[in-house]
Amino acid sequence: MADVHRIAVDDELAEQRRTPDPVDLFQFSAALWLTHRIHYDRDYTTEVEGHPGLPVQGPLQAVYLQQLVRDDLQRRRPGSRVRIARYRFRHVAPAYVGQTLTCRGRVISVDGDRVGCEVWAEVEGHRTTVGELTAVLT
C-alpha cells in the first residue's frame, strides 16, 4: 500500500484477531441483561442444545467488525471520528468461546467522506458473520 492515508476501493482493512473468553461473554450478556442461557451455561448448551461449546453472541461479533472499520479508518485519518451510517450483517455459522475470530474487510466504495466496507469474521478459514457497513468520516 503506497499511502496509508489514501482510502481507495479494494483496500484491505488491517485485520484484527479476537479470542473472546468466558469473562468477555459474561460481560457482554451482563451489559445487555441478556439472559439467554447458551452464552453462560455450558452443560445446558452442550447437552440440551447440542452445541460443542458456548456460542459467542452475534451482536458482539458485529461490534468487533464495526471496531475493525473504525480502527482502520482512524489509522488512515488520525484525529477523525468515524460515524456508522448503515450496517447490514448476517450470522452464517456459530463461533465458540475460546476460538480465535479473524476480523477482516475491504473497502468497496468511496464517496467523499462516506466509505463503504465489506466485513467478515472467520474461524479457521470459515466465515461466521458477514456484513456491509457504510462509515462517515467527520
Binding site: 460481560q27 442461557r37 448476517r90
Partner: protein, 166 residues
C-alpha cells in the same frame, strides 16, 4: 412436531402476528454506557467521562454506535424469572407454533445520531413481515421485526431484524 408437509402459518400464528407491542421508554444512564463500553473493550474517555464527552462536542457521556442492542435486549429480558423460558429467553418473540429451532437472519441498521447519558429513548417495535418458505427440511417461518429508537422525536436508530424458525 409439524410434519414437513404442514404449514407453520396457521390461524393462531396469524392472529399472534397481528398484535402490537407497547412502546417502551428507557432512560439511558452513564452506568449503562459504561458497562457496554467496558464489555466491548472501548477505551475512549468520551464513553466514561462527561467532561471529555462535552469537550468533544457531545451533550453528555456518549454510547458506542452498537449500544442500541442494549435498548433492544434489556427491556425485553428484564422481567420476572417466571416469564423466562427454560432457555432463559423471554417468550414474547416466539409465535404459537411447534418449532425445533431458531436462527438469526439478517440485521439491517440505519444510524443517524447517537445516544447519550440522560436521553429518554422511545423504543418502538413491530412485526413488519411474517413469511413462510419451504426449505429442504420443511417449512421455515421468517419473522422480520422493525425496531425504531427515538430521542426527542427524532429517530436515532432504525433496525430490521429477521428471525428464522423451523
Amino acid at each position: 412436531m409439524a410434519e414437513s408437509s404442514e404449514t407453520l402459518l396457521t390461524d393462531a400464528t396469524r392472529a399472534w402476528a397481528d398484535r402490537t407491542y407497547p412502546v417502551r421508554h428507557v432512560t439511558v444512564t452513564a452506568g449503562d454506557i459504561r458497562r457496554f463500553a467496558y464489555a466491548t473493550g472501548e477505551t475512549d474517555p468520551i464513553h466514561f467521562d462527561r467532561e471529555a464527552a462535552r469537550a468533544a462536542g457531545f451533550r453528555d457521556v456518549v454510547a458506542p454506535p452498537m449500544f442500541y442492542v442494549f435498548l433492544r435486549v434489556s427491556p425485553n429480558h428484564l422481567r420476572p424469572r417466571s416469564e423466562l423460558e427454560p432457555d432463559g429467553s423471554p417468550s414474547e418473540d416466539i409465535p404459537p407454533v411447534t418449532i425445533t429451532g431458531a436462527m438469526a437472519g439478517e440485521t439491517e441498521l440505519e444510524i443517524d445520531g447517537c445516544f447519550c447519558a440522560g436521553d429518554e429513548v422511545g423504543c418502538h417495535k413491530r412485526l413488519a413481515d411474517l413469511t413462510e418458505k419451504v426449505g429442504r427440511s420443511g417449512p421455515l417461518l421468517f419473522l422480520t421485526f422493525e425496531h425504531r429508537y427515538d430521542v426527542a422525536g427524532a429517530t436515532v436508530v432504525r433496525e430490521r431484524f429477521t428471525r428464522i424458525l423451523r
